[in-house]
Amino acid sequence: MDILVCVKQVPDTSEIRIDPVTNTLIRSGVPSIVNPFDANALEAAVQLKEAHGGSVTVISMGPEQAKNALKECLSLGADRAVLISDRLFGGSDTLATSYILANAIKRLGKFDLILCGKQAIDGDTGQVGPEIAEHLGIAQLTFVAKLDVKGDVITVQREHDEGYEIVEAKLPVVVTVVKSINKPRYPSIKSKLAANKAVIDVLKASDLPEINTEKIGLKGSPTKVKKTFTPPRKESGIRICEDTGSGCALKLFEKLVAAKLV
């Protein structure tokens, strides 16, 4: 199977703090990582390759430093990594980004399966995967917690409110995965050393001749950010701190009854 995985290098948003004085994000010192859901997607791809044979190609649209994320993916079992990078791509929203990625994918070949993480932990939109599917004109399966491939049919379990929906489709499809699908492996010393030596191809806008420059960058982005702000802090309320646990419980109960909550 020839599988393509889309990954994004993101700041580790669980490490981000808000400066209490300026109310802005403290981004310095926050490590850049492979988006955790994309790591799940890559692991799923490598497991499929190990079971069925074939190849895993990883692509990422980003600045030069995204090569580090791609190297990480090579050390985790990807066979080839390609960076899609050009100043002209800057400022792209999800529509423009997915358009660029779809063009790059077309340029790189025919794939049986395209895997993405369900959302990037910085943008949190979850839109690029399905939009890539639309641009490529292929089917999509989102929020996938389990997948199996037999021949050219993929069967997945999609996360649903009360359980999992079992859905079938014929390849090729775009699949977005959730965390519970697998536990990504660690690299090995050898694979890490090998990945460090690997050469990562870069595709620029000029390498994608079919691309319509009106549809990339700010020009190709119908959504624009008007402003950003740190979430308003809810005012903290009543603090209950008695000597004993049961003392606390009684005080809380009293207050909840008074507020007609129980």
Binding site: T13, L95, D124, T155, E159, G163, A169, S180, C248
Partner: protein, 336 residues
């Protein structure tokens, strides 16, 4: 595209088994405010098979009109069928705004149709407003794991589409005497176009269990629960209150609770009347999933836990001492 040609606010009324899901009905209420700001109508779009109940609810909860598309092929949600219907409807009726509940299916559908229509989509919104100068919708949403809020505009294309978090907006009081026109559109999607097939379902939650998305009371446990067996205490508490049980990411990652019950930025987002956070520290990613709760009660041993910054009632104590006593008191109160 001529922006002026596009009018009215649509709400995609997602339904399950013919019944409208809460999130669509919540959006009718907020959607009305947006529609009225531009002197436009709020219209519910119902797609499915045998969906009379959903249509009735849509009208009762405030739609000025309902657009209804029925067909066997729409019985279960599928991307290709629903996208085909929505895009065909959009091309015919030219709505200015489409609101979609950010359920998994909503977040599956939104980007498919926005890409097909080459228009802007804003995901997972927690705030909706009107831009004074232009009448465009302002879409406010969390990013960076909930650390940052962004307000987005889609001013150059139509329709403006957004998926909206369940539980952020409240449903109106239903009025079953309301009447509204039902516009039936005949749109069929042939089998070759629908490329995915639902072949089964695995129930992961008890039939009787209260769903997190619909619950008015949620009792959630975090790392402070210590081990999976201790969630039995929270189950007991939730049962007593008629509520649902949730979990923080820490508890799910530790394997104590299933992923479907995770509340947070990358899990489910909830907006119940009361949210009990038990042994949960209150990381931003968790808050992002429950901050629209009406009342937050936090029980945690650590007085420095960030959850206390947002709790309406913050109990600094051992949850294993506090909760059993609370359960007792509530039981006594109910009996009397």
């Amino acid at each position: 595209m001529n922006i002026a040609d596009y009018k009215n606010v649509w709400v995609f009324i997602e339904n399950a088994n013919g019944e409208a899901k809460n999130v669509g009905l919540e959006l009718l209420n907020q959607g009305r405010i947006l529609a009225e700001a531009n002197n436009e109508k709020i219209i519910g779009v119902v797609i499915g098979n045998d969906v009379n109940a959903a249509v009735k609810s849509t009208i009762a909860y405030g739609a000025d009109e309902v657009i209804l598309v029925e067909g066997e092929e729409y019985k279960d949600y599928n991307t290709d069928g629903y996208a085909n219907v929505m895009v065909t409807l959009v091309e015919k009726f030219k709505p200015s705004v489409i609101l979609i509940g950010a359920s998994n299916n909503g977040r599956d559908l939104g980007p498919r149709i926005s890409a097909r229509l080459a228009t802007g989509l804003t995901a997972d919104c927690t705030g909706l407003g009107i831009n004074e100068e232009t009448g465009d919708i302002t879409w406010t949403r969390p990013a960076f794991g909930g650390n940052l809020m962004a307000t987005i505009l889609c001013s150059t294309t139509r329709p403006q589409i957004g998926t909206v978090r369940p539980g952020v907006f409240k449903k109106a009081q239903p009025d079953t005497t309301r009447r509204a026109p039902i516009i039936k559109e005949e749109i069929r999607t042939s089998a070759e176009i629908i490329r995915t097939r639902v072949v089964g379902f695995i129930k992961a939650m008890d039939e009787a269990a209260v769903k997190l998305e619909e619950a008015e009371i949620i009792v959630s446990g975090g790392r402070g629960m210590g081990k999976p067996e201790n969630f039995a205490l929270l189950n007991e508490f939730a049962d007593l209150l008629g509520g649902a049980v949730g979990a923080s990411r820490a508890a799910v990652d530790a394997g104590w609770m299933p992923p479907l019950q995770q509340v947070g930025q990358t899990g489910k987002t909830v907006g119940p009347k009361i949210y009990f956070a038990c042994g949960i520290s209150g990381a931003i990613q968790h808050l992002a999933g429950m901050s629209s709760s009406d009342v937050i009660v936090a029980i945690n041993k650590d007085p420095e836990a960030p959850i206390f910054d947002v709790a309406d009632y913050g109990v600094v104590g051992d949850l294993f001492e506090v909760i059993p006593v609370l359960i007792e008191e509530i039981r006594k109160n109910k009996a009397s």
